[in-house]
């Protein structure tokens, strides 16, 4: 069944080495939303840092209290080691109180070797959201210009934007056609999470090879939707497959909530802002919970999923606030859901797997 076996999917380190060999530089990027095209315009390859899982969190623990989530704690530990010995710039987008605090600590108290650039993402409601973000991106442009000494033209930026938009479209197609792709869950998530570090052109090329293999046959397994921040440890996906489940759609911050539509404007900064703001509704944009619920229901309907697994990171307050309302809404529509909570440093627990297995048996 697996066509991934025929594909050579570069790893994170390979992608970085290859990009640097061509004279490029690396931007380490914290979750969740950011303008890829803007970084690429400065010949910076964005490489995302979602924790990462299973590293020694001692450094982070010396600076953050135990009730701060493991993504932020690990990230603080990780960036201090100058990951890959190659990160040239660190971008810290704003998303929640913890990431906000992380950005502040990195600027004020434990500065890494690289310049740290915070980016504020708007969560107001009015029409001026896009214009604020546009100006925020212009400010980021100026900072990158000062760091790199390079000033990309509008045409260069538009070219990068188009590359990224194409990759985003391919990513969205992969999600839409998930059940017709000859990929297991682990293969699918390895592929789509490669968007976290591959150059857009390379990702588009690989994604197209997979999309060319779309078939009529529908992937077997009990279809579920997974919601949360990220599917770590990734071994979880193999376990779900073995239990007879399959992830038919996702509302994960690292993937499904980042399917950006193309912007409309011909002005590059505004176009990038429009694209980012077009992402799925979530707390990170201040979207109403009802919008999140409707989005979730849409995913369930389109993927014919039979239930939802909320896969939460311990202490992720924004997710925890939405949970009861989302579950209540799903229950009203007779859609079963379950909640499991993880720390990205912990191995898969049997207790959690038993819970997911019981849930799959219930909805089968």
């Amino acid at each position: 069944m697996s066509s991934m076996l025929h594909l050579k999917l570069p790893g994170r380190s390979d992608a970085i080495r290859s990009f640097k060999a061509q004279g490029g530089k690396i931007a380490g990027v914290l979750p969740i939303h950011y303008p890829r095209a803007l970084l690429r315009s400065f010949n910076l390859l964005p490489v995302e840092i979602w924790g990462p899982p299973r590293i020694d969190p001692v450094f982070g623990s010396a600076h953050l209290q135990p009730y701060i989530c493991s993504i932020v704690r690990n990230a603080l530990s990780f960036v201090q080691t100058n990951p890959f010995q190659t990160v040239d710039v660190l971008l810290v987008p704003h998303a929640c109180d913890s990431l906000q605090g992380l950005g502040s600590i990195l600027l004020d108290f434990v500065p890494p070797e690289q310049p740290v650039l915070p980016l504020y993402l708007p969560r107001g409601q009015g029409m001026n959201k896009a214009s604020f973000l546009q100006k925020e991106l212009e400010t980021l442009y100026q900072k990158l210009k000062n760091i790199t000494g390079y000033s990309p033209s509008q045409d260069e930026m538009m070219q990068k934007i188009l590359y990224e938009e194409e990759a985003d479209q391919k990513l969205a197609s992969l999600h839409r056609q998930r059940r017709n792709l000859p990929l297991s869950d682990i293969e699918f998530y390895c592929l789509i999470r490669a968007r976290e570090f591959l150059p857009a052109e390379k990702f588009s090329e690989i994604a197209q090879q997979i999309l060319d293999q779309v078939r009529d046959e529908i992937l077997s397994g009990i279809p579920i939707v997974i919601s949360g921040i990220l599917p770590e440890p990734m071994a979880l996906l193999n376990e779900i497959t073995q239990m007879g489940g399959m992830i038919a759609a996702d509302d994960l911050a690292c993937s499904g909530r980042r399917l950006y539509p193309p912007g409309r404007s011909q002005e590059p900064f505004l176009r990038m802002a429009e694209s980012l703001l077009g992402a799925a509704p979530s707390w990170s944009w201040g979207s109403p919970i009802q919008d999140r619920l409707e989005h979730l229901m849409g995913l369930i309907q389109a993927s014919e999923a039979k239930g939802v697994v909320f896969y939460n990171i311990k202490f992720c307050e924004p997710e925890l606030f939405d949970l009861p309302s989302l579950r209540e809404g799903l229950q009203a529509a007779a859609i079963p859901s379950t909640v499991v909570e993880v720390d990205i440093n912990d191995p898969l627990s049997n207790q959690m797997l038993t819970r997911i297995e019981a849930f799959l048996e219930m909805i089968a």
Binding site: S98, Q100, S104, F109, Y120, R123, E317
Partner: protein, 452 residues
Amino acid sequence: MSAFGWLTYAWNVQLLGPAALRINRWLSESRDKRGSRWNAETLAPPLKISFKNKELVGRHWLEGRYANLRHKVAWVTSGAPVEIFKALDYYVLYPENHAAICGTARVAVELSCEAENAGYSRDICSYARTDFGTLLSGKTPVGRLPKPDLLVACTNICQTVLFWYRVLARHFHVPLIVIDTPFVYYKEASAHALDYVMRQLEEAISVAERVAGKSLEERRLRTTARLSKMASELWLEIMGRNAHRPAPISVIDQFIQMAPIVEMRGDPETVDFYAAMLEEVDQRIRQGIGAVKNERKRLLWDNLPVWYRLRYLAEFLGEHGIALVASTYTNAWGELAPMIDPDGGMDAMARAYTYPILNRGTRYKLETMREMIERFDLDGVILHSDRSCKPYSIGQMDQRDRLLKDHDTPALLLEADHNDSRSFSEEQIANRLAAFVEMLGVEKWQRSAHWG
């Protein structure tokens, strides 16, 4: 409003209620002559103004019970630009204050459990859980909460309020105004951030006008902003008086007396209240009265109070001759007073509401603490690592280290929660406080040693 509604409101809020509260104050004042329930050997008696405070706050919540009969009601966050809503005649309710009342009344855990039973995690803010508990159970120590017609969440104190108010919006099906104030990582907010906040304020006004069914009068907005500024300046002056030795009031007193500056900012009664409080504080200075008798060490408190253990902390520290003299938290409601410009329009309002300490970087807070240590001549700092308030708490570990290493100021990190007593380990806290007190070089105050 119906005639019956008008009569009900007038009878309860304007006649019977205030009279009952006034009588209650008189009775409390006369009872008080018999002495405080708190340790009178080491602590000064409560401020006389406390009884007025209780009456004022009581009237506010009494009005809340009947507010839906006469006013549009707005539930707002403590950092929201309340002047707009006051000037539009909204009855303004602060869910954070309500939760704090539940904390001091020690019903917060019971209410939190109601929320937890409905699926809300113990890892979310305990203020939010407390209020969700009230919504779900109807239980509250203030009688009854009025239903909101409008919700206003301003992110200048935390992002949590946005997540919290999204839940409220879904629960009540009323409009939610979000005033998103970009976090100030550097010394100054960017021009486009201030412009963004200003435009949101303009949009907020049009939504608030629509819900209120009336237009905002500039004259009334200016008057409310002026009253806000006056009250904030008085509050700042009161806190500034603690530069005296002994400090006339403690931070615990400030926590208790801060309710009006938070929930009644913009009211003339609030200005009168703080003017009277300032007089009493000055009188204490003239008489040489200190909040802690035999004041030997002076400390700074960082972060929210531990609402359900105010007395414990006051007495423990008081027994050792330690006064909590200043607090970054109570200071937050005064430090922006100079920025409030009643004639400055939306531009000035955007600036004032973008710069609260909680919307600024971790270094700014450290610098604020250093400045307060100098100004109030302090001997150490207690940093309350508040499980429920991540934005206030993140950075404290580095702030503590910097205070110790760079400023030679002893600093203690105290793990607790502002409203959830289940996160308050009394034994552990007593041990940590005892060790800190020892480090400060003070021993428990012995009555015989001083009274011969």
